[in-house]
Symmetry: C2
Subunit: 216 residues, 2 copies
DNA sequence: GTCTATAAGAGGATAGAC
DNA sequence: GTCTATCCTCTTATAGAC
């Protein structure tokens, strides 16, 4: 079993859970230590400080999400509609009932742009998400419109996760996931244009921006 | 001018701005005091403590939103489609380019359910928002479906505000507002079903929940 | 690798001078 | 109504014993 959890991983686990449910600033190193059976002094054996620990945690979220969720959009042996469904179901399983919602989303709102290293990782995460969705949508919608629909779908999912936190009712989020899958349901090109517009969409094409990533 | 700002209001103004951009826990009383030209000891002349200040601030957000934004959905002299457009435009003006996004949304994710008084106010705010949207939608969609569409629209707006924070690009949010207006664009009942599904929607009616408010 | 002890500072809150 | 001074707690971080 090469996947044996090291103590360092246990600290990251505890940190992720607490950051998600209590926020970054309101979680102390002592909290994290206690959650994995250590005293706060011991945490500094593994990490240079709270910020370094958080960055390691974010890096693991990014890696895990790529492997277990967003990667589902990449299997070339599976038709796009099924890849989209697999992706949406994975997202739904991951976030439904998850106390604290999406760490990346919560962190984006909590720290704003005060900690650039966090911003970069949050952007990377959402960029991965967008790329995954766009890759299965662009066959039907074209790159530019697929990118927009991907953003819209992520926005709806994030907002639904937020509302789920507020109301305790997962129905909003389930509808968001189902409507995302429905983007590839119909047969014709224009009819399934999911998030609102009917008709061929006289939206300004603008720059066909494929990525948000513009940081170093 | 009866709308002359009192000093107390100035403290609330500063607190709202800082809570929104820096988060609740990461904003100190000294920060708030400095932002309105006081020292931190003086803030306690107006408020019993940081938490009481925050609650007064949230109450003002709720009152202001009712009056200036959600209230636009209530004018009986205006047809529903126009009321929806006014509402969506007010939402767009209020949040577009607003650093820190939506305080209520950010607060919901930051504090989770740790501070019940905050939760109640956040729920109240989103309940107002939902009621406003549902009131203009129920003529066409019926109460139950109008409530769902209202939730979906709020989710999309909140998520778009979040993404706007991450990417700096307001396009996601503008699309969200436009698609909300489009919910009352078409003439027939089924064709304009905005947030995804095409067709008559075989969704389970479930409980026609009108409100999320279930706290005391 | 985990502990104790401690430094150094930030943050919430109070008391009292002016 | 604002300031200064102070108290107390929590938090980050380091040093060194075991």
């Amino acid at each position: 079993m090469p996947t044996r959890k090291t103590d360092r991983d246990a600290v990251i686990d505890a940190a992720l859970e607490l950051f998600r449910t209590q926020g970054y600033h309101h979680t102390s190193v002592a909290d994290i230590a206690a959650a994995c059976g250590l005293l706060k002094g011991s945490v500094y054996h593994y990490f240079a400080g709270k910020k370094a620990l958080a960055m390691a945690a974010l890096d693991r979220v990014i890696a895990d999400s790529r492997q277990k969720i967003f990667g589902l959009a990449n299997d070339p042996a599976v038709p796009p509609a099924v890849r989209l469904q697999n992706l949406a179901e994975a997202v739904e399983r991951f976030f439904a009932g998850r106390e604290g919602g999406c760490l990346m989303g919560s962190l984006a709102l909590e720290v704003g742009d005060a900690i650039p290293e966090f911003c970069d990782r949050v952007r990377l995460y959402f960029d991965d998400w967008k790329a995954a969705l766009a890759s299965v949508l662009e066959g039907r919608y074209g790159a530019a419109r697929a990118g927009e629909l991907a953003e819209d779908s992520i926005a709806r999912a994030q907002g639904a996760i937020l509302l789920m936190e507020v109301t305790g009712d997962p129905a909003v989020f389930r509808r968001a996931c189902r409507d995302t899958v429905a983007l590839l349901d119909g047969a014709t090109e224009t009819e399934a244009a999911g998030t609102g517009r009917s008709g061929p969409a006289k939206d300004t094409p603008g720059e066909p921006r494929e990525s948000w990533q513009h940081a170093s």
